[in-house]
């Protein structure tokens, strides 16, 4: 019985020590993140404490992708510049999904499916699909991607935007403060052939920036 109590005390003390160590580590980071960098020399210390940092996210919006389809398909590409501003010393992560569980671009009677590609395995845009790409991210390649209107299928590859019920896809990240704001250009492409009814199709993407 004594041994059993001893083991229980030992286990509880272990839990307590582990918790204390965890909190200590957090506190250590907090101290390291003090605003007075001169105390610590010229290290890359940030301007705010963990947990008190703010993060700001803005984007320019995407110009309407106008497509005059051809029998074999015509494609348009436009970009959205997303800006993240944070003093978090550990940086940030920028992800995105569509706003709904349906990641197709919805028209009145029909829709344009999102690309079958992923950031790890992007693909050339297929007709009657839409997708995104970020130059230099994951397996997208460096590009450079350029704006086009009702042109041929772009040589660069695209990925589908995950729906809100799927895991978000990361479009940018940083392990250091983003001040001044860091811009990420997210390119959107759409291809359509003559089978697609004349209409306006739309989808809403939601960007989420989180401090690390």
């Amino acid at each position: 019985m004594t041994n059993q109590r001893f083991r229980q005390v030992k286990r509880l003390i272990s839990v307590l020590i582990f918790t204390l160590v965890s909190v200590c580590c957090v506190q250590t980071v907090s101290y390291a993140d003090t605003t007075d960098s001169s105390v610590y020399g010229s290290g890359s210390f940030g301007d705010c404490d963990y947990g008190t940092c703010t993060i700001t996210l803005t984007d320019t919006g995407v110009p309407t992708l106008t497509v005059v389809p051809t029998p074999t398909g015509a494609c348009s590409v436009q970009s959205d510049t997303v800006s993240v501003l944070t003093d978090s010393t550990t940086g940030y992560s920028l992800t995105m999904t569509t706003s709904t569980t349906n990641n197709a671009m919805q028209g009145t009677t029909t829709s344009l499916a999102t690309s079958s590609g992923t950031s790890g395995a992007p693909v050339t845009l297929a007709v009657n699909t839409w997708g995104y790409r970020v130059d230099g991210l994951a397996s997208f390649g460096t590009g450079p991607t350029t704006t086009q209107s009702s042109g041929s299928v772009p040589s660069v590859t695209f990925a589908g935007v995950p729906s809100s019920s799927q895991s978000s896809t990361q479009v940018a990240s940083s392990s250091s403060p983003a001040n001044p704001a860091q811009d990420t250009k997210v390119w959107y492409g759409v291809c359509a052939d003559s089978s697609i009814p004349v209409d306006t199709y739309s989808a809403t993407v939601v960007y989420t920036a989180v401090t690390n």
């Binding site: 389809p69 306006t200 989180v210």
Partner: protein, 306 residues
């Protein structure tokens, strides 16, 4: 005693864990709408009537032509957009515009949903002033000499937004004559969907045509108050109303209800009458080809038809 120590230890652990977990990262969210407008490529519209060189003393003219079906088309006179309507599903349009005295250079402009604009060639018209009757009077009335310039129905950019709008609620009729629809006549049943809407309104007032409560055309009445435009009817009942606006006042016409009943296609019919008609047609063709010089070959075709 042990229970007391155990509960205290667990409690402390939970508090410390809570303190550690209370520090959460900052989050920012932004949404962006991605829009794709799929549009058709289209031919530039044409003006088939009037033709260049046309001269008149009338204060208005009906412009007709062809364009891409179902797109809004604006008639521009001397650089000023004067009227807008929608090209019918068969690719035709017709709308009246007031004319200024002197030269009127008109073009038709169509814009698709992607913002691509295409224009017809210029048509040069001449409106001549009516010679003054030697009455001895010195007062010139506006109708006899026309007007030097015609006010626009809106900027070229916002004209298309004047279509597909509901009838405004604040139509006031104070000291303002309501427009009158002369054509179509009430309760008319049409088998074609393109009809003329003509009528009278306050001279030079802005006229908007509504079908089933939604605007389908906007034009300026002539200096004598006439207006004409072809509109496309919806299948079934169509309630047509006209609103006229001038000098901050507006008035709504009485409504005129007409019906569009598309003709039934004989080819699709399976009724005994339709079958009999088809057989008769087949026999007629056979008879016709048998009597022709090359009847052997055509007879085979006739059999196929039957």
């Amino acid at each position: 005693m042990w229970r007391y120590v155990k509960s205290k230890l667990y409690g402390a652990a939970l508090i410390l864990a809570a303190i550690g977990g209370a520090v959460s990262p900052a989050v920012a969210v932004a949404a962006s709408e991605i829009q794709a407008s799929i549009c058709v490529d289209f031919m530039a519209p044409t003006i088939t009537s009037p033709v260049s060189g046309f001269a008149t003393q009338d204060d208005s003219v009906i412009v007709t032509g062809e364009g891409e079906a179902s797109l809004p088309i604006t008639i521009v006179d001397n650089g000023t957009p004067l009227a807008i309507t929608t090209v019918s599903s068969s690719g035709d349009y017709a709308i009246s515009i007031p004319l200024s005295v002197g030269e009127n250079v008109i073009i038709a402009r169509e814009v698709n949903a992607c913002g691509t604009a295409k224009e017809s060639g210029e048509v040069h018209l001449q409106r001549n002033a009516v010679p003054q009757a030697p009455t001895g009077g010195s007062t010139l009335n506006q109708e006899s000499v026309g007007v030097a310039s015609i006010a626009s129905v809106g900027s070229a950019q916002d004209l298309s937004s004047s279509l597909n709008q509901p009838i405004p609620n604040n139509v006031s009729t104070a000291s303002f004559n309501a427009p009158v629809i002369k054509q179509p006549l009430p309760d008319t049943v049409y088998t074609t969907n393109l009809v003329w809407v003509t009528g009278t309104a306050e001279p030079s007032s802005m006229v908007t045509i509504y079908i089933n409560g939604m605007s389908v055309a906007r034009l300026r009445a002539s200096p004598t108050g006439s207006f004409s435009v072809t509109v496309e009817l919806n299948k079934g009942r169509n309630t047509i109303q006209v609103e006229a606006e001038k000098d901050g006042k507006s008035a709504l016409s009485q409504s005129t209800t007409v019906t569009y009943t598309p003709p039934k296609s004989a080819a699709k019919g399976t009724s005994p009458f339709a079958v009999a008609t088809a057989i008769a047609a087949g026999l007629a063709i056979a008879m016709a080809v048998i009597t022709s010089d090359v009847w052997v070959v055509k007879l085979i075709k006739a059999r196929r038809l039957r």
